[in-house]
Amino acid sequence: MRPPFSAHVLRCNDDSTNLQVGTPREDTMNSPLIRVHDLWKIYALGDVEVEALRGVTLDIQAGQLVAIMGASGSGKSTFMNILGCLDRPTRGTYQLHGTDISGLTADERATLRNREVGFVFQSFNLIARTSAVENVELPLYYGDTPLAEQRPRALAALAAVGLAGREHHLPNQLSGGQQQRVAIARALVTQPSLLLADEPTGNLDSETSREIMQLVRRLNREQHLTVVLVTHEVDISAWADRVITFRDGRVVSDVQQEMRHGDAQSRRGPEAAPA
């Protein structure tokens, strides 16, 4: 059903959403992609119970670029893990596309992660001594993509993040920014509706950070991709449509904001920027 990934990325932003016929993204144009209600997460650390999340309630609309801020221990990582279907809440509900995650088995959550969620990490988390294209193929391998389509799709995903020609480089032969682009290509190769980025620029210098954010912003705008990113840096949160701040397991502020980095800047894209 889904058109190949490259078609989305390379298409102009205006028609791309119209072309996504039958994908869940369109269904959720009216209802929120993410609906979280009174979410609690309580860990037992020895005898002590730690309340990492204390009743978080929020919606995230499809196509939004949301930044989550907060000090360490504020519960934002726990929140991200639950959003990414890696973890289940102790109480409360989390609906992704209207599906309640708390009722799913580990295998069902794995399938959901494979289809609906892409992860980008601070430390890139590429598999060592494995080429860029093989890293990008990984989600396709665990999905139901026919073998013959895996390589072309992975190559297209790499081209879309500006890494054509570096497909067979190993992670240690790539710069930090390039590794993060491989990670983004891997996150998006299955065309998920949600991209979760955990401090994606935390290990990058400011110039490379800006390029990565431009790429994320462009994918968000052109493909109507919902992005939730965790960051400590105000510079990075400035790229977001909405900034949610956590403290002690609760949402303390939730602000819609105007893009401070103009669309004109992001349209220039990473291809134009020095690699």
């Binding site: 890696l86 973890d87 794995a110 988390n125 990984l138 665990y142 999905g143 073998l147």
Partner: protein, 410 residues
């Protein structure tokens, strides 16, 4: 199918990343499988050699010996008492339809003299059919015949060892006169060497003469008409058991043995002895095999050890795989395939090593070896099973990791 191919590729890639470690891990299996194959080859080679020796006694032979080997009370073993007579032998030949040839003999150790040489050997008076029953031809001269038996001619046929002891190289024993217990005998033939029996007796260390000659001129007057042993062949090798039964029935009747009495003779077949020695060598083979299997087991533990290390080392990779959608069975399968790849590649290399070392052993140590394809295939398959068995625990550990913990693992 697709999953298998992809998993195999991933496993091979993972093993290639650590070539040295993979090779060392495999070494355990290589040595294990190699040892199993070499040991089985040695065992089977030894067995074949023993079977060959048994066949050298004469194929499809029944031996009738006086006395019972398995009897209660104070009875002596075979040959201890002389209950068999030449008349018994004649009756067997006459009355047992399954019997083809019969020969009988008496033996005594005596000094044999030729010129200034002398040699203590077994002097054996045997009927002329002995050579036929034992399938024992001469290399020089000829054997004696029924006429020599009838007339008690003083002719002798020498075993190879006796000929070598009494005569120097270049001397032809045939036609010479030797003295046995001061009785002169004309040597008419030298027998082909037959080698040792499986109990280590040199079969070639013997002088043969007609039974009547031995009885009248060498062995003395006591126990006249008795024999040490009767050898019988069957008309057909399939009728060997039948012949044995006929002989037993006949001799019980002739010796007037009541139903509740045990036989005063024993009929043994060389097949029984072959079976006995086969089971003996089977015990040896099993012993060697179990020792070799232990090394295969140790190799399997090596695989398990390395995989456990590998799972710890690649915890983050496992986390990444789970984050992008790997189910726990994918992870389980991946590590299981890695274990099986290690053990089966090791098994293949071990099979080659085993065949080569079996060849080297038979070449250098001159031990007979016999490489059986079944042993090679069995060892190879067993190595695969070892991989699954020892790979399962680490693979399950990996598949049970929590993705969040695994992703954060440093």
């Amino acid at each position: 199918m697709k999953l298998l191919r992809m998993t195999l590729r991933a496993a091979l890639r993972a093993l290639r990343r650590n070539k040295m470690r993979s090779a060392l891990t495999m070494l355990g299996i290589i040595i294990g499988v190699g040892a199993v194959i070499a040991m089985v080859s040695i065992g089977q080679g030894a067995d074949a050699a023993v079977q060959q020796q048994i066949r050298s006694l004469g194929t499809d032979l029944l031996m009738v010996v006086p006395g019972a080997t398995t009897a209660s009370g104070a009875r002596s073993g075979w040959g201890g008492v002389s209950t068999l007579t030449t008349a018994d032998a004649a009756a067997i030949k006459r009355d047992c339809p399954a019997v083809a040839e019969v020969t009988y003999f008496r033996r005594q150790v005596a000094q044999v003299v030729y010129g200034d040489q002398n040699w203590s050997t077994v002097v054996q008076g045997a009927t002329p059919s002995y050579f036929k029953v034992r399938e024992w031809p001469v290399t020089d001269g000829q054997v004696y015949g029924p006429r020599d038996e009838e007339t008690a001619n003083r002719v002798a046929v020498l075993g190879r060892t006796v000929a070598d002891q009494l005569f120097g190289p270049g001397q032809d024993p045939v036609g010479t006169i030797i003295r046995i217990k001061n009785v002169p005998f004309r040597v008419i033939g030298v027998l082909e060497p037959k080698g040792q029996t499986m109990w280590g007796q040199d079969q070639d260390d013997a002088v043969l003469m007609p039974y009547s000659t031995a009885e009248r001129r060498v062995l003395g007057a006591e126990l006249l008409g008795t024999v040490d042993m009767i050898h019988v062949t069957a008309t057909d090798r399939d009728r060997l058991d039948e012949a044995g039964q006929q002989i037993t029935a006949l001799l019980r009747e002739r010796h007037r043995i009541q139903h509740d009495q045990t036989d005063d003779f024993t009929v043994r077949s060389l097949n029984d002895m072959a079976e006995a020695s086969k089971s003996a060598s089977q015990v040896m083979t099993n012993l060697l095999l179990s020792v070799a299997s232990i090394s295969l087991l140790v190799g399997g533990i090596g695989i398990m050890n390395i995989l456990l290390v590998s799972v710890t080392e690649r915890t983050r990779e496992i986390g990444i795989r789970m984050a992008v959608g790997a189910k726990s069975r994918h992870i389980l399968f991946q590590f299981l395939v890695e274990a099986m790849t290690l053990s089966m590649v090791g098994g293949l290399a071990g099979a080659i090593l085993g065949v080569i070392s079996a060849g080297l052993i038979s070449h250098l140590a001159a031990w007979p070896t016999l490489v059986s394809p079944a042993a090679v295939a069995g060892a190879f398959l067993f190595s695969g099973a070892v991989g699954v068995f020892f790979g399962f625990y680490p693979a399950r550990q990996a598949s049970r990791l929590d993705p969040i913990t695994a992703l954060r693992y440093e």
